[in-house]
């Protein structure tokens, strides 16, 4: 069987199984079992079993539950309310002020939760009503909330980044650090978009002046800074330990967990129940993620074993087309599929094929996978099937899907332009990890 026939049949079968609605882990199990039986017979099933068991007991993947637990604890420690109040104090009068607050809050929430869906649910419930009440434009508000959500998996510490780095076999520390500048650039681009639109059309801005209680005196400003210091301190502690090579990412997460427990005590939110719920949430999420990764582990090995990966590399090396055109095709495929497919599933089928290709094409892996990460996150807010938009709809049922689509469209445009900028100037992604290496 030629390499392309193997690739087409395996990917075709996987996509058909995904489309049926079978759980992703079952799709991978089924494809791997069928492939093993076809290629090696019953004796080869031991290989599949061992690949599953070795994945679930792999020390490198302990980073996943620890970063999930860190997010759970920071989220439950009561920092979000404090954060919103403090940002309201700290960000002064400017056009589009509430939109800028929403994006800043989303960025910091991103560092805390690392999940776009959790962030949209939180911002939709918490920020959206207060912004609409103050006369903000509905579409721009929804757009900013969705935009903020795209920052979450990019700004470290991010669980999705840890998973992608593990799958792509690149340094978790470098990849986490690489997310800082692109996250800030994307966040600034979204904020700039809102500010420019409110300058051009002031009717889009909030109709209510800043509450007197929000207009900060010096003492209130200092108090606001002090209130968010523990929360921001933990985020910077985790990042700092990784950035300066003091601790491994997993160890840094453990230190962060310890710090966030202390913070919950400080904010008066600590209880045995809260701690149990956070650990339970982490165990539940980890099982959901790891069973998929474990079931799919053999997939990349089978692609290599059948010669499909080598065949694809040979084929692309014979193609006389510009490598940037290939880059565009690879990213366009991700952009298309991530509208229909779960981010993790897409990662698991794309990484085994893209990994050898990007080495062959001479792209920087950190840069490539960061753009890939932004791309799949963007899929969540791209009409018509982006998952994150449906989460917003579920928390704000009164908003029509059409309105959500119109709100998301310009944000997708801004994000795509920023991705083009990062493609032209890869240093935006690679500079910080290269400097600290």
């Amino acid at each position: 069987m030629s390499w392309w026939a193997v690739l087409l049949s395996v990917f075709g079968l996987l996509l058909v199984l995904f489309a049926t609605g079978l759980p992703i882990f079952a799709c991978f199990m089924l494809v791997n079992v069928i492939a093993v039986l076809a290629l090696m017979g019953v004796a080869g099933l031991g290989l599949f079993v061992n690949s599953m068991l070795e994945t679930t007991s792999n020390e490198a993947l302990v980073a996943i539950p620890l970063y999930v637990l860190l997010g759970e604890l920071l989220f439950r420690a009561g920092g979000v309310t404090v954060l919103y109040k403090s940002l309201n104090q700290l960000i002064g009068a400017m056009p589009g002020r509430l939109y800028v607050i929403a994006i800043t809050l989303a960025g910091i929430l991103g560092a805390i939760s690392g999940s776009a869906m959790a962030s949209v649910a939180m911002l939709g419930r918490f920020i959206y009503p207060s912004m609409i009440e103050r006369g903000c434009n509905r579409r721009l508000t929804i757009g900013m909330i969705l935009a903020g959500a795209t920052l979450d998996p990019i700004i470290p510490p991010s669980v999705l980044a840890v998973i992608l780095a593990t799958l792509a076999n690149i340094s978790i520390a470098d990849f986490l650090i690489a997310g800082i500048v692109p996250g800030v650039v994307l966040g600034s681009a979204f904020a700039a978009y809102a500010v420019i639109r409110t300058i051009i059309n002031p009717s889009l801005d909030s109709k209510v002046a800043r509450d007197p209680g929000e207009r900060g005196s010096w003492s209130q400003t200092v108090q606001s800074v002090l209130q968010i210091l523990p929360l921001v301190g933990i985020i910077f502690l985790v990042l700092g330990l990784v950035m300066f090579g003091v601790a491994q990412p997993t160890e840094a997460a453990a230190v962060g967990i310890f710090g966030s427990i202390l913070m919950s005590v400080l904010y008066g939110k600590f209880s045995a129940k809260m701690l149990f719920e956070a650990c339970f949430g982490a165990a539940f999420t980890t099982a959901t993620i790891l069973i998929i990764i474990a079931s799919s582990k053999l997939f990349s090995q089978l692609l290599a074993f059948t010669g499909a990966t080598a065949g694809l590399i040979d084929f692309t090396s014979q193609l006389e087309i510009n490598r940037w055109l290939l880059f565009f095709i690879m990213m366009a495929a991700v952009f298309f599929f991530c509208k229909f497919m779960d981010q993790l599933a897409l990662m698991l089928i794309a990484v085994p094929v893209y990994s050898p290709l990007i080495i062959h094409l001479g792209f920087d892996p950190i840069w490539f996978w960061m753009l890939f990460l932004i791309n799949i996150t963007l899929g969540g807010i791209t009409p018509p099937f982006g998952y994150t938009m449906f989460v917003f709809k579920s928390v704000r049922p009164e908003v029509s899907m059409t309105e959500i689509y119109w709100s998301a469209a310009p944000i997708v445009g801004v994000a795509l332009m920023t991705m083009v900028l990062m493609s032209i100037f890869p240093q935006i992604v690679t500079w910080l990890p290269a400097t600290l290496r």
Binding site: T20, M29, E251
Partner: protein, 163 residues
Amino acid sequence: MPLWMRWHRALTEAGARVATVCVALMAVAYTAEVVARYFFSAPLNWSGDLSGYLLCFSVFLALPKVTADRAHVAVSLIIEVMHANARRRYLRVLWYITAVVCAFVTYFIAVEGLRQFNEHVLTSAANQIPKWWISAIACYGLASAALHLLYAQPELSPSEGIE
């Protein structure tokens, strides 16, 4: 609800709680590693291996709960556009297929586990444990998940069975 089903659900809840403790222990093990390494210059040689084993136990002990709560990740576009009754029937079929896949993989893990038990195979980490312990816990997780899928009744809420 039959007694065996109640027992199965209770076992699932208990397993999820043990998985929760495993996650807490992973955090404790790594915190201990950081303290030992950076404050006492005496790195521990067991924290990584222990965390790896705890990860495996945690995943397979929580798996039945994830399945019972219908929290597995799936692409749900087709299911969402179906009418309620068709969706209920379709979900049943999907869950039966998933149960068969899980049962099939459980069988092969059990066969492999028996071989590991008979040949006294140990894990390849520095701190070794019998490998069949891992296979046994995986068998429990997948078999229990398969059982949940067999007797669960799809509900008519639009998001049932999907993420």
